[in-house]
Amino acid sequence: MGKVMLEVNELTTKYITRFNEDVYAVDHVSLKVEEGKSLGIAGESGCGKSTLALSLMGYYFSPLHYTSGEIIIDGQNITGMNPDAVRKSILGNEIAYIPQAAMNALNPTQKIINFIEDVVQAHDPKVSKKEIYELARERFEVLGLPKEVLQRYPVELSGGMKQRTVIATSVILEPKILIADEPSSALDVTSQKMVIKMLRYMMEKGYVKAMIFITHELPLLYNVTDDIMVMYAGQIVEKGSAQQTVFDPIHPYAKGLMGSIIVPESGLKDSKLTAIPGTPPNLKKPPEGCRFAERCKYVTPECKRFPVDMKYVEGNRSYRCIFSEEHLRKAYQNG
């Protein structure tokens, strides 16, 4: 087993609305990412994927609030740290975050190199401009971006190029963990592939030690990450290796999600897509029992009675359902 880079224990965070209602978007989430590994988080929109990403950084600002649990980055517990301290010493140095529209972070009136100078000097004001230029040039070269980009303004670059520039900048301080939240969903397929290639390259070169990749595009997740975690209504419902989760899901929700995969391969036309009916529950008043019960095909009255705990099964997998693995598999076979 490799060194654990990020460990999260029972993390719970909530949003407080302006009517003072609590919305538990991340509910008792535990995860571990080892050095050199990547973890994928899948789920439909509104299930708490992005809130989890924001919570992992330990940088909370209203309306997001910390409730309980702990976050340990490479042995250092960052829970309960002052937000200013987190911003200075954790973000960028220890953990970096790429949002979906990362390219909008570029300042249209600044050259790319000035933007990078700002990033580096915010963490260490003593570094000279010349040193920063050398660092940026070398880093861009390794990641396959032409060094001319540094002297350009954002308007002169294409969308995919801007996205890759921001990603390269976000790892310039060599953070331990990179959280990529849908980094490629605003791009076309070719640029998406370039972004993925670059992320893989950064892992290989050791600019980042571990990665968390968030997306709802399951074929992409399968190709990028080692492990996949499926989230539903703020909870983890299934955890396992990419291979296991995609081809052999246990939880009914994961099963439904994998049934909606569309790839241009023969046999797709004959297969029936299994869309999951209904909508996720309102997290202001989450259901007492299993949160997926309302939409589940295999629901029993028992499901709605008590909160469901994670079950651990063979092969380092876990899922959140009251039924045993055999029971679920039998149910899937019978349709």
Partner: protein, 274 residues
């Protein structure tokens, strides 16, 4: 089997933007013939001219050259009246469902507009409610829950389904769907595609599906047209084009999509490319 009737046909369709040195040919002499009740996909990267072609088909922009034939007759939409007449036959759904709604109106007024436009103005209100309920149940939504809601209260997937319900009420001959699923997550995407298929099977509508995702195109369509730099480089039935591609461009597009049963080859892209 009898030959299917032609629904929309284009001959040498061209659109040029700009003049002289700034000349930019967005669509370059494309020919096609879409039959009635067919689902056709137009696949291409951003900037390949898909949306320009769609706008020409809708009559939103003029054509530089070439002719469009609608149900065998040459399309003439020079007068405003003829244009309105044409739009009873062709309708569109777009990428962003939110931009297609008036945000100050509630959902039911949107549907009432559709009914009124299709000659249902003098129907009793109960009859209109019945029609709206039918349209909503077609897309698995409950009309009673939606009547008093504003667009911002709904999710993107729900909005896009409502757009399909609207099309169901309007019953055009042709539906032009321009990237209808690109702002929706993978799970609701399956629902939307299922509904488009159902719409075709129930009403015999011709659906033109525009997308950059070749996987989606393969799933929904009977015929696929691959577009590159304003030209159709490859066309044929979905199985022919996707499973046995001939053109290098089609092969590249297929290669760029992540797959699950085959190895995804990352070496084909050069990240130095601007």
């Amino acid at each position: 089997m009898a030959e299917k009737k032609s629904c929309l046909k284009g001959v040498g369709l061209t659109k040029v933007f700009g003049l002289g040195r700034n000349k930019n040919t967005a669509v370059d002499h494309v020919d096609f013939d879409f039959s009635e009740g067919e689902i056709v996909s137009i696949v291409g990267e951003s900037g390949s001219g898909k949306t320009t072609l769609a706008k020409m088909l809708l009559g939103l922009i003029s054509t530089t050259e070439g002719e469009i034939y609608f149900q065998g007759k040459k399309r003439d939409i020079r007068s405003q009246r003829a244009k309105k007449e044409y739009w009873t036959n062709i309708q569109a759904i777009f990428q962003d469902p939110f931009s297609s709604y008036n945000i100050f109106n509630k959902i039911d007024s949107l549907f009432l507009d559709c009914i009124n436009m299709r000659g249902g103005k003098n129907l009793p209100y109960e009859k209109k409610v019945e029609m709206m309920t039918e349209a909503c149940s077609f897309v698995n939504l409950k009309f009673a829950e939606l009547t008093n809601k504003y667009p911002f209260e709904l999710s993107g997937g729900q909005m896009q389904r409502l757009m399909i319900a609207r099309i169901f009420l309007l019953k055009p001959k042709i539906l032009l769907a321009d990237e209808p699923t690109s702002m929706i997550d993978a799970c609701s995407r399956a629902t939307i595609l299922d509904m488009l298929l159902k719409l075709r099977n129930d009403t015999g509508m011709t659906i033109i599906f525009i997308t950059h995702d070749i996987g989606l195109a393969y799933f929904v369509s009977d015929k696929v047209f691959i577009m590159e730099h304003g030209k159709f480089v490859e066309s044929g039935t979905a199985d022919e084009v996707i499973l046995r591609p001939k053109e290098a461009y089609t092969k590249r597009l297929l290669n760029d999509v992540p797959k699950i049963h085959e190895e995804w080859d990352l070496s084909t892209v050069d990240i130095k490319n601007q």
